[in-house]
Symmetry: C2
Subunit: 337 residues, 2 copies
């Protein structure tokens, strides 16, 4: 890393090189991956993720919403390893007057419903900033394997575990003043009635993502697959999966899972639906590969979006064109949506 280059991937690359100098290092011990597997190879997967006011959520977001989202994004990282969630450890930094009771009641209820025990933590105060960091520990299911980003082979089919871009659209709606109140979209009088349903879905995808733990465990029982969690946008995250597997890929633009209603919402938001689907980020669905001919059960509502190719290049194919995958996505060290 040159001092000039402080993008997230550059910092991580430099850090991995430093860690790799240590002969005890193993690929199981990883920064910037979905979760670390300890001791080497398991049986524990550990992940850590922060939710920061003004970065991951808007000021005035109810503490219950932050609590549930904090757990969900961490569970999504565990889902990407195929783990069963077990323990959570919270570091909570809050400004004066913070409603601890509301935050914890929601967090404990969400932990209960996902089978997680809140096992420890640290409380701190800051004059202005609300930061919640959760460390989550999961265990390998009895008959499961750990999922990894590596292992994709040319000819494998590339899948996503759900629709793309909706969370990013939800964030834009919030930034324009939209709020969900008792399940209804409020605060955006301009929003056409016909878009209320898709707007509500987008807000829910952003505020209350559903971690794909069952899909992760199903993938962990496959003979071979590569998998990761889509948090920084398909464009950026697919590059990471391809790099770890030393392969390229081809994405069918027509196959990207988003609806006509979503495209209409994007027109209202004056954003390109394709840009949100490829680079919006915070989708919190799994990106994975399976050998050709194998497919996940319909209950997981997955979508095949392309194919793994030999080489290192990643292309999109659509409208008769073949073009390099655009550089989109979210760099955590250069946040700009």
């Amino acid at each position: 890393m040159s001092t000039a280059d402080s993008s997230e991937d550059a910092v991580l690359h430099w850090l991995r090189r430093r860690l790799a100098q240590d002969p005890r290092d193993s690929p199981e011990l990883r920064i910037g991956h979905d979760a670390a597997l300890v001791p080497r190879g398991g049986p524990w997967a550990v992940t850590v993720d922060s939710q920061i006011e003004g970065v991951h959520f808007l000021p005035e977001t109810p503490p219950e919403v932050v609590a549930r989202r904090l757990l969900a994004v961490n569970l999504s990282d565990l889902a990407a390893t195929g783990a069963e969630p077990a323990y959570a450890f919270l570091a909570l930094t809050t400004p004066p007057g913070f409603a601890h009771r509301r935050f914890f009641a929601a967090l404990l209820a969400a932990c209960e419903s996902w089978g997680v025990r809140l096992a420890g933590g640290d409380l701190a105060s800051h004059p202005t900033t609300f930061v919640a960091t959760l460390t989550l520990v999961g265990r390998k299911p009895p008959r499961g394997r750990w999922l990894r980003r590596s292992g994709a082979l040319p000819g494998d089919v590339l899948w996503v575990g759900g629709t793309l871009g909706e969370s990013a659209a939800g964030y834009r709606l919030l930034a324009l003043g939209a709020r969900l109140h008792r399940g209804r979209v409020q605060g955006l009088p301009d929003l056409p009635r016909s878009l209320r349903g898709v707007a509500r879905k987008a807000l829910l995808r952003h505020l209350a993502p559903t971690p794909q733990l069952a899909l992760g465990r199903w993938l962990g029982r496959r003979r071979r697959c590569a998998a990761m969690d889509l948090s920084d946008g398909l464009s950026r995250d697919l590059r990471r999966l391809a790099r770890e597997s030393r392969v390229g890929a081809e994405i069918q633009l027509d196959a990207l899972p988003y609806s006509q209603a979503f495209a209409a919402l994007c027109r209202f938001l004056e954003v390109d639906p394709l840009a949100l689907a490829l680079g919006g980020g915070e989708d919190y669905v799994l990106l994975f590969t399976l050998p050709s001919g194998e497919s996940p059960p319909p209950r997981f509502a997955c979508q095949a979006i392309g194919e793994i190719r030999a080489g290192a290049a990643i292309y999109t194919v659509g409208n008769g064109d073949r073009a390099p995958l655009p550089e989109l996505g979210w760099d955590h060290l250069k946040p700009s949506r």
Copy 2:
């Protein structure tokens, strides 16, 4: 917890009651304690602690210093369980222009020297705030027991693992403009030459505390002891140990470990040395009890400061007086030094 009462102990009390409603709960799963022991009773101890700019360290503190301190305060929590450190997971939130390379180089070197592997993490950016949260995982040493806050009995001797109040004095020196540069105190021209040595020691105690891991492991091989980490001041932390052990205590003020030189530094700082020793906080030494007649080896430089008593009251004895222990110490939700 009433909404009016949002002190740290009140939040923790409310939270423990909520957790205790869960029949699967065990005393090994703890918030606000030094570390959680998972699965129930071990073999892993997990602790999490944050360092926040403007709260735990002053703005402009070099990233190397923050990195080493972050590791040290977490290691001190592990020391209080008797664990051997194993893995670290970092959540790092930094403002634009942060020197990641300097931070990580120092953190990795410190991890190396304490036998810790940096195994995973998360990088994020915030417009203004620097928050670093470390989750540390330790394992139970082969022949050791876990240390707990409970288990002290009337007649046991109360010990501390080092001097008290120096870290708080160091913080005050920093707030007045003092800096350590190549091991020398600078930036405070008023400071008498005779106080330079003790000021340097106080700054080091604050900036670079030394976790007492070896003492913790030694205590883990005793037949019986209660132990915890002194982070919020003797007054507050002793109350916690006494509550968990359901005992009272008597502290000999004359036995509190601070030097004449420290008292002179406190006169310069216009603070009562006793107030710093009892309530300054961030001492990061162990507070523990041993049965009468047993004492730690001299290499640990521990000091007996009093005795465990039946009942719940905690007294100080000195100058012919016996008085209730003053309510001092640091509440993490109401920070005021």
